[in-house]
């Protein structure tokens, strides 16, 4: 990695720092992007189908049409993110050429490579990647991810997996910070994590990049829960535009994320939102359809 790369990586991590305490919303067209921006989203994720539709309709889920992404870039002034398939170098290059602000190398799309993730150091554009545990997060950071999110189980409206992933990650960070130095290498080996990053986490007591929650967040209370568990912000996919009243749900989730520790405000914003997206029990999803297991 050369000096210019290092500086770009710092800037890319910095952009994620500016998103902290905020909500990033999945949108499928410029109208939704405008609704998200007006509700106070810190960024939008441009994609053709929200995860719950991908789940329902099946088939191969790919990067979105560049024309649709451009339309969203023109519609809003907040950062625009988009998803590329795991390991799909060409999709990532296309998104970089579009000057997208962040690429999500995402398990929600059908993986293009069943062995390797992208070498994200090769790109100028920042990447966010999903993780279920600290080892996976550090592998992605080792590959150049400038931001991490929990995988959760996208498109389910069921927060249980995001909770599990966040708790697993935070608990490993806490364990590492209390671990004597001689135990770190074994931790790195057992968790498949780069040793230098294991040491960094042990010494600093946190991930070296911003960590958001994603995958199954459907209500303001879900967003607040994830913040209480140590998340630095949230991604909401199907939860907003699959609810009865997207505008109100979007605004309520933004407020709940900012004031996650204030039960009075949470009660107020949770009132009269209409129906949230219909959820799915994780046990009812056949193992081969579980998105969180994609990624290596």
């Amino acid at each position: 990695m050369n000096a210019q790369n290092t500086q770009q990586y710092e800037l890319n991590k910095n952009l994620a720092q500016m998103l902290k305490g905020g909500v990033i919303m999945d949108v499928t067209n410029p109208e939704q992007a405008k609704i998200a921006e007006a509700a106070g989203a810190v960024a939008v994720m441009a994609l053709e189908r929200v995860p719950s539709d991908i789940r329902k309709q099946g088939g191969v889920a790919r990067m979105s049409d560049p024309g649709m992404i451009r339309g969203i870039q023109q519609a809003v002034s907040i950062p625009v993110m988009a998803k590329a398939r795991i390991g799909h170098i060409a999709e990532a290059r296309i998104l970089e050429a579009l000057k997208i602000d962040y690429i999500d190398e995402s398990e929600v799309l059908t993986p293009a490579d069943d062995l390797y993730h992208l070498n994200k150091w090769d790109f100028k554009v920042p990447f966010v990647c999903g993780a279920r545990n600290l080892g996976e997060a550090l592998r992605r950071i080792g590959e150049g991810a400038a931001m991490i999110r929990t995988k959760g189980e996208a498109g389910t409206g069921n927060v249980v997996e995001a909770v599990r992933h966040m708790r697993t990650m935070m608990s490993a960070v806490r364990r590492l910070s209390n671990m004597p130095a001689e135990e770190r290498m074994a931790f790195a080996k057992d968790n498949g994590a780069p040793y230098d990053l294991v040491c960094w986490v042990a010494e600093n007591g946190r991930l070296p990049v911003v960590n958001f929650a994603a995958g199954g967040i459907a209500t303001p209370a879900d967003a607040a829960l994830m913040m209480q568990l140590g998340s630095e912000g949230v991604f909401v996919g199907s939860g907003i535009f699959k609810s009865a009243n997207p505008e109100r749900m979007a605004r309520a989730i933004v407020k709940a994320t900012a004031f996650y520790n204030d039960p009075d405000i949470l009660a107020e914003v949770s009132e009269g939102l209409g129906e949230a997206m219909r959820g799915i029990e994780i046990e009812q999803i056949p193992p081969e359809s579980r998105l969180a297991d994609r990624g290596w």
């Binding site: 500086q7 710092e10 800037l11 890319n12 910095n14 952009l15 720092q17 500016m18 998103l19 902290k20 305490g21 905020g22 921006e37 509700a39 106070g40 989203a41 810190v42 960024a43 002034s77 907040i78 950062p79 970089e96 000057k99 997208i100 602000d101 962040y102 100028k124 554009v125 920042p126 605004r251 933004v254 407020k255 900012a258 004031f259």
Partner: protein, 193 residues
């Protein structure tokens, strides 16, 4: 309360709050705290408006009834420093969209330097911020397109105004909270003397 200690608030609705808090905690004679409510705002001797998304922060200011009290305190002379999004919040005019607090006589252009791939860092001498060099980090940064007669320009980079002051209001397009350098913090604390 010890009168020698300065009580510096950081508006904590969204954005680079923890980074500003960490920088303030490195300075002697400062008690730093997060501001989310009017009563916290009233305790502040001076206030930092952090980086983040200006549209989001502006929305939350209104939703949580902080907008009017904040305006009143700044008009009452409380020193305030807006970094990036904070600068956009203070501006009288924002090109192409409605402005927010409208307190400082500047016109800003959002994302003026471009999208994330155009974000950059540079280290330059800014005499106002001290004799040494000050590292400047720009993230999808705005610049000041024009400034009124009462505005003192503190730093110009590549022909664009990126730091300025008007009485009790300081604005920077860049993010000192993302560096280890405390020059701009010291300048701001002197405004709070």
């Amino acid at each position: 309360m010890d009168p020698a200690v300065k009580h510096i608030g950081v508006l904590a609705l969204q954005g680079s709050v923890a980074e500003h808090m960490a920088a303030l905690e490195r300075l002697p004679g400062v008690r730093a705290f997060e501001v989310r409510r009017t009563r916290e705002l009233m305790e502040a001797d001076a206030l930092i408006l952090p980086g983040g998304e200006s549209t989001t922060i502006a929305k939350l200011l209104r939703i949580f009834d902080l907008f009017e009290p904040l305006c009143a305190r700044i008009q009452g002379g409380m020193p305030v420093w807006g970094t990036c999004a904070g600068m956009i919040l203070l501006a009288r005019k924002i090109i192409g969209e409605p402005s927010h607090l409208r307190l400082m006589d500047i016109t800003v252009r959002r994302n003026a330097f471009g999208r994330q791939s155009d974000s950059f860092a540079e280290t330059v001498r800014v005499p106002a911020f001290g004799p040494g060099e000050t590292p400047l980090v720009f993230i999808r940064a705005p610049w000041i397109e024009s400034a009124g007669p009462e505005v003192e320009v503190l730093c110009t980079l590549h022909g664009h105004i990126v730091a300025a002051r008007q009485q009790n209001m300081l604005v920077t397009s860049f993010h000192p909270e993302l560096t280890d350098n405390l020059n701009v913090y010291r300048y701001f604390l002197r405004m709070a003397d």
